[in-house]
């Protein structure tokens, strides 16, 4: 199962993902994907550097599912909510099935 590495940006706390160019993106689709454990470790090492550079905090890898249309869905509900960058306050979220 592929993984991406997520974190929160230090200066505003917003959820971000490590991109292939070592920058951090809010869009999970643009995140660098690790296909095996070694690749996860590589991403984590890059992320650890970003922690030292005070770009991000609270770094960890999450398993994802890549769909046929190219969209990315985290496996856990928690990470799906984080990736959406929004909450149920939004009225249109109201009718999304539980």
């Amino acid at each position: 199962m592929p993984s991406v590495v997520t974190a929160n940006r230090l200066n505003d706390g917003i959820v971000v993902y490590l991109a292939p160019d070592r920058t951090w993106t809010e869009d999970i689709v643009a995140a660098a994907r690790a296909e095996n454990e070694d690749e996860v470790k590589e991403l984590e090492a890059t992320a650890a550097e970003a922690v030292r550079e005070r770009l991000v905090i609270s770094v960890y890898p999450i398993p994802i599912e890549v769909k046929e249309d190219g969209t990315v869905d985290p496996i856990s509900v928690r990470e799906r909510i984080r990736a959406s960058h929004r909450t149920t306050l939004t009225k249109d979220w109201y009718d999304v099935p539980l």
Binding site: L10, N11, D12, G13, I14, H85, T87, L89, V96, L98
Partner: protein
């Protein structure tokens, strides 16, 4: 209400400056996250799921219009235009940027507010009855003692690093509207043997993964000894409470491990040795603080308002709102009004900046400049003339805030859950919304009667599920959100922890499950019987049968 003196202003401003410096040092790398985390938590700043969350203390739930307007401004300028009123009478902003926090704290200090001790293992915001100085069953104003406890506990050198967080609630009325039995210390003002007021002191109540109803440690404590006695309770806890296991560190665990008698002995022994004169507040200082809480001058008015009576006859929506949200006041011709933040389809306890400003305006126009928050996550105008109720209602109605469900099924307590919270295992807000949708019809809610439904998105129980007549607890079972139902809890004088009724349900089933429970109650109740009375009489069997019989 209490006004800061020069010392208070200087102290809070110094703290703002200190935190501004700490944030700057974090951003330049002088402080690591490990070093910074306890400092930010001491200032109420958490890192949640989506962003930083700032928890602002609202001491004993009391706000002035100026303060509420400032909160509205903060929400608009530094957040996303809304805040969340919590079950501890506080306010949380969910999208605050670290780089803005010092400015937010400075804006709070301008209106005599702060975030100190809204996190950490210290004495948290002291909570109270939202109808203080208004309720007709009140013996004495509890806010005076809340304020004394607030000043005493703020940065108390001995009690700033307790084994775990510590929550105190004070009620001065016959009816407990502060859930005192579910606090580390619950204080009830009662009449003593000589006709003097004092405190019945409860200790060791709490929710979380090990819920307990508080036990009486002292039937009657003379008022003048409040600080020295609370001091002794905290000292015994500080010395004997567990620090090796986060889940066993609250005072409730110590009280129940020792037994209330042994715990009491330890506290009384410490108290006997205490130099009470050095700890208890001098009488004139108590009087000085009490003077801040003089109730507004409310000249008596006619106890019946004909225009109100006529509107109740002609407008069923108004009649329902009036019946549920307008409460008796101790001065004839006045009422306390609950502004429900539980409009179906919205997040329970959330208020937009626009709403906050509107309520601030209404408090000035009709409410003698006072606003309260309550632990059921609504706002209260404690002093409104009956003659002003119609005008107030019409403004609320136009703004979509005339939601007449106070203490009814729709008035659910609901924690932020997995939509915001880093600790949560399951969502609670969408479940609350779906339940609200199912029971949207106020006529049906009226038929059901008062019913407390509380929901938490994890075992930490911020949504008070243990004390709900119907409690809903979200858990994570192998990646699926599952909801456990408890029945028979109560936060009031008959405080009780709800009983788990059986296996949990998937999210989409929960509204139907609540419907079944409500139907079972309605079918089984005798005339006039509350949910709790029916539950206590018939027991779990009919509810289990209705929920699981077909399985």
């Amino acid at each position: 209400m209490y006004r800061y003196d020069e010392f208070d202003h200087a102290f809070v401003n110094e703290r703002v400056g200190e935190f501004r410096d700490q944030v700057a040092r974090r951003l330049t790398g002088e402080l690591s996250e490990e070093e910074f985390r306890p400092l930010r938590l001491r200032n109420g700043l958490y890192l949640q799921l989506h962003a930083y969350m700032l928890r602002i203390a609202i001491p004993y739930g009391q706000l002035s219009p100026r303060q509420l307007r400032q909160l509205a401004m903060i929400g608009r300028k530094w957040d996303r235009g809304y805040g969340h009123f919590t079950t501890r009478q506080n306010l949380q902003f969910n999208w605050i940027k670290l780089v803005d926090v010092a400015d937010v704290l400075a804006a709070l200090a301008d209106v005599e507010m702060h975030c100190i001790q809204t996190s950490g293992n210290c004495v948290r915001n002291v909570t109270s009855d939202p109808y203080a100085a208004a309720a007709n069953d009140e013996l004495e104003d509890p806010r005076v003692w809340c304020e004394i406890l607030r000043q005493w506990s703020t940065l108390h050198p001995e009690f700033n690093w307790l084994p775990r967080k510590f929550k105190i609630a004070v009620s001065g009325a016959a009816e407990d509207r502060a859930a005192t039995a579910f606090h580390d210390i619950g204080l009830r003002i009662v009449r003593g043997p000589d006709g003097e007021n004092g405190f019945r002191v409860l200790v060791g109540g709490g929710m979380g993964r090990t819920p307990y109803v508080g036990q009486v440690i002292r039937e009657f404590l003379p008022k003048e000894h409040l600080l020295s006695y609370v001091d002794s309770i905290l000292r015994v806890y500080n010395l004997l409470g567990r620090r090796d296991n986060l889940y066993k560190a609250r005072i409730k665990i110590l009280v129940n491990a020792l037994g209330i008698d042994k715990f009491r002995e330890a506290v009384e022994a410490d108290w006997q040795e205490t130099n009470k004169d050095a700890v208890d507040l001098p009488e004139d200082e108590v009087r000085r603080i009490a003077s801040y809480f003089a109730p507004p001058d409310l000249p008596e008015r006619a106890p019946r308002d004909e225009a109100l009576a006529a509107r109740r006859e002609s407008d069923s929506g108004f009649a329902i709102w009036y019946r549920n949200n307008v409460l008796a006041h101790r001065v004839p011709g006045y009422a306390s009004v609950v502004i429900s933040l539980k409009e179906p389809g919205r997040t329970p306890g959330d208020a937009s900046s626009d709403t906050m400003e509107l309520v601030a305006d209404l408090a000035e126009r009709f409410g003698h400049n006072e606003i309260r928050t309550n632990y059921t996550q609504n706002l209260v105008l404690p002093h409104v003339a009956l003659a002003d109720i119609l005008a107030l209602y019409d403004v609320l109605d136009e703004a979509g805030l005339a939601v007449g469900n106070n203490e009814m099924l729709g008035d659910m307590i609901c924690c932020p859950g997995l939509d915001y919270c880093n600790l949560a295992n399951a969502r609670s807000i969408p479940i609350a919304k779906e339940i609200a949708k199912k029971f949207e019809d106020p006529v049906r809610q009226a038929e059901i009667g008062k019913l407390r439904v509380n929901m938490s998105g994890c075992i930490n129980a911020c949504g008070h599920h243990h004390s709900g007549n119907i409690g809903i607890l979200g858990v994570d079972k192998r990646g699926t959100e599952l909801y456990q139902i408890t029945l028979g809890g109560s936060p009031k004088d008959d405080a009780a922890v709800g009983t788990i009724i059986g296996p949990g349900f998937r999210a989409e089933k929960v509204p139907e499950v609540i419907d079944t429970i409500v139907d079972t109650y309605v079918e089984n109740r005798k005339e006039g019987e509350s949910f709790l009375e029916t539950w206590r009489r018939v027991g779990a069997a009919p509810f289990k049968e209705a929920l699981y019989g077909a399985r």
